[in-house]
């Protein structure tokens, strides 16, 4: 066997091992969602007595066998809330980040680069540090227990601005100059020249934002006190109470919860990879 082929085989084996290691927790999660409480702690992946009863229990179509009571989970509502909040945040964040990135990458103004450094420096501050001040602002604005309390603070992103700025820097400046010679103003250049060319970056940011918001937990947990506003992550806390952790129900709920994320990723993964690669070309 040639040396190159041997290396390829070795690389392939390594990748398979890493792939399996990454896949096992996911497979375990799906398998646990079909197990009974008595079996859920078992290390065996394949359930001995598979059951689908965890799904109707989570969907409030059957009572919980432990308490004999319906769990009262508003799964449909929480699902909708998660998707709605993620969609709104994604649209707003992509738009605001693109506008800011355009200003930082394509327009010339005094102290532009210094302001940009200040802006991205906010990424270095841990979220926990700003949690109480941010929360206080939300209280003052009377945003507690509202959807906009979750959407508006997430509508602006230093990371998104940074990602799209890098992307826009890679677009040749001759294009805007030609447009300006033709009489185009900054708004037209932004919408009709730069944004179409920055599409891979926009798609990458949209996917990352949607997935990140869909999974967000701490901010909604702190901002919300009424279950009708909960996204899925906060709602699932109901399965982790002092009565004990209902692992099989949590897994059933999680399997249903991650379906939109997997769909988004599966459909757009090519754009995500391409967007991130192109965004890293120019500094």
């Amino acid at each position: 066997m040639k040396r190159g082929t041997k290396l390829d085989v070795l690389r392939f084996v390594m990748l398979v091992i890493v792939g399996i290691a990454m896949l096992v927790p996911f497979v375990w999660m799906v398998s646990a969602s079909f197990k009974t409480r008595a079996e859920v702690e078992d290390v065996r992946i394949v359930p001995q007595r598979p059951t689908i009863q965890n799904y109707p229990i989570v969907l409030d179509m059957k009572p919980d066998p432990v308490t004999g009571k319906y769990l009262g989970l508003r799964f449909g509502r929480w699902y909708f809330n998660s998707v709605m909040i993620a969609t709104c945040v994604t649209v707003l964040q992509v738009l605001t980040s693109a506008m800011a990135a355009f200003a930082f990458a394509r327009l010339r103004w005094k102290w532009r680069d210094k302001v940009f450094i200040l802006y991205i420096a906010t990424m270095m501050i841990p979220g926990v540090v700003t949690m109480i001040p941010n929360f206080q602002i939300m209280v003052t604005l009377q945003f507690l227990n509202t959807y906009h309390g979750l959407i508006i603070p997430a509508a602006f992103s230093a990371f998104g601005t940074f990602l799209l700025r890098q992307f826009m820097l890679s677009i040749p400046p001759a294009l805007d100059e030609a447009a300006r010679i033709d009489g185009a103003r900054s708004g037209t250049i932004f919408w009709d020249v730069i944004l179409p060319l920055a599409r891979p970056g926009l798609v990458a940011l949209a996917i990352l934002t949607f997935l990140g918001t869909y999974q967000s937990f701490y901010w909604p947990l702190i901002m919300l006190n009424q279950d009708q506003f909960y996204p899925m992550g906060v709602g699932l806390l109901a399965l982790d109470s002092t009565y004990g952790r209902q692992t099989e129900l949590i897994m059933a709920a999680t399997v249903m919860n991650i379906v939109p994320m997997i769909m988004v990723f599966a459909i757009f993964q090519k754009h995500l990879v391409k967007g991130l690669q192109l965004g890293g070309v120019k500094g």
Binding site: E41, F80, M84, I132, I222, D240, T247
Partner: protein, 483 residues
């Protein structure tokens, strides 16, 4: 591109509109609506509807947090938007919330409204108080018992623990179970776990001397307790090492592993309270094969076990603190305690409803004798004490760290606990040096002015051992230490 953005924005607006349009708004019916920071388990629905029946002008809704994580509570209370009623899971958390100025001093209202400490079990009363002031009232009480799975014992042909089980007997049983399981090529854990706090209390130890100025972690009782944990784990194989635990477990988190090992016939014994019984319907046949006894005791000492209470306090900054006091009236009522009996959620707060095991019988465990064992665990039950001179969450953290050092053979029990006591006393000194309020407290506690060299003037007392049984003579470590 413009069209795409407009389309996406329209979709987002449509979803937002649907979400807003389908929200239910509280009716303007004059009812005061308060929040209760607790875990959102299904039993709360019945508990809250019974409260509304008792107080029709008040409504309480559950405001879930993240288990033991207090971030939500702290952030909300710091901005004056915290819930009116707060579940407090232990006296250490209570002390933190009192220090932070969150909890209302209930003392002026408790006697008159009927939720003073005399309305609950004697063994938890001190956990409701700090410096003689009451700050909470129990929602339920958690004791510890030794539960054993008769199916495992029968299968391995090992006799059950006796009603007066000692640590010596526990070790013999554990060894016999290991041996029998090995012969049958089975993997059975004799006892799911036994942490240092349980052992410390069983050995008559404590966290602090009474004045709170000296740590008692370096007492002979505490060192014997930690040595017992080390021996149970590494010498006798009665409790699993962390490696062994990981090999039989797929699930993380406190309690989760142990419960499922025990219920799934992989652990023969577990230390747990009455609240476990709610899990029994999930494991067919287990209720009939369940054995319950008290925690093992040290020869020479009484049987002593830990007791804790999940108890509710009132947020003093809530606009509804006065109305929220009615919730504590409800918790002290027999009606509430009857719900706890029926749901199996620990021991009810009112002793009037739980005088004998027969009173505790419910659909989960209809055996009055076993229920009596849970009730007996409230006798001689104790909790660890606190010090006003150090942040008690920190003490807890340092203590678990010390347990980790011993479990992983990094330090000997004596070395780990001596270092722990030294570290705690060093931090107490630091706090005293920095905080005039603690210096004032020092003056009240000791009757003398604080000075940097106070430890020379007030030497460490010889630790008083709790629960001594004089007829049984000295304990094993006292005999070992004798000249």
């Amino acid at each position: 591109m413009k069209a795409f953005f407009i389309g996406a924005a329209a979709l987002a607006l449509l979803l937002y509109g649907i979400a807003q349009g389908t929200l239910s708004r509280p009716p303007d019916d004059g009812i005061i609506r308060m929040r209760w920071a607790t875990d959102p388990n299904p039993a709360r629905v019945t508990q809250l509807s019974r409260f509304s029946q008792m107080f029709p002008h008040l409504e309480v809704t559950v405001d879930p947090g993240l288990g033991g994580d207090q971030t939500k509570l702290i952030v909300q209370c710091a901005t004056g938007t915290g819930p009116a009623i707060i579940d407090i899971y232990d006296h250490i958390q209570m002390a933190s919330l009192v220090d932070a100025g969150v909890l209302l001093d209930l003392t002026p209202f408790a006697k008159q409204m009927g939720f003073d400490p005399s309305r609950t079990f004697e063994s938890v009363r001190d956990q409701l108080m700090i410096d003689g002031r009451q700050y909470r009232f129990p929602c339920n009480i958690a004791t510890s018992n030794l539960l054993y799975n008769k199916r495992v014992f029968d299968r391995l042909g090992v006799p059950y623990p006796s009603d007066d089980v000692t640590f010596d007997e526990l070790i013999q049983i554990g060894k016999a179970l290991r041996r029998a399981a090995r012969e049958r090529r089975e993997r059975v854990i004799p006892l799911a776990d036994m942490n240092f706090i349980v052992l410390l209390i069983a050995h008559g130890g404590q966290f602090f001397q009474q004045d709170g100025l000296y740590s008692s972690f370096d007492s002979e009782a505490a060192i014997a307790a930690m040595q017992m944990r080390f021996d149970l784990m590494h010498k006798h194989g009665v409790i699993p090492t962390s490696v062994e635990a990981a090999t039989v477990s797929t699930q993380g988190g406190w309690g989760g592993d142990s419960l499922t090992w025990f219920s799934g016939d992989r652990a023969a014994m577990i230390l747990i309270g009455r609240w476990y019984t709610i899990q029994l319907p999930q494991y067919p046949g287990l209720a009939e094969r369940l054995g319950v006894t008290g925690l093992p005791r040290v020869p020479g000492l009484l049987r002593m076990s830990p007791i804790q209470t999940r108890a509710a306090g009132i947020n003093r900054n809530s606009p509804y603190w006065r109305e929220a006091l009615n919730f504590l009236v409800y918790l002290a009522s027999p009606e509430y305690s009857e719900l706890i009996v029926a749901d199996g959620d620990g021991i009810p707060p009112s002793p009037l409803v739980a005088q004998t095991g027969a009173d505790l019988v419910n659909r989960f465990l209809p055996n009055a004798e076993l229920q009596q064992a849970f009730l007996d665990a409230t006798i001689n039950a104790r909790n660890t004490n606190l010090s006003s001179f150090i942040e008690n969450g920190l003490v807890n953290r340092l203590m678990w760290e010390a347990q980790g050092f011993v479990d992983n053979r990094i330090k000997t029990p004596r070395q780990a606990l001596t270092d722990l006591a030294d570290e705690i006393e060093r931090r107490i000194d630091l706090n005293l040096e920095r905080r005039p309020d603690l210096q004032e407290r020092f003056r009240r506690v000791t009757g003398m002015e604080w000075s940097r060299d106070w430890r020379r003037k007030i030497p460490k007392q010889r630790y008083e051992l709790a629960g001594r049984k004089p007829e049984e003579g000295p304990t094993y470590w006292e005999r070992a230490a004798a000249p």
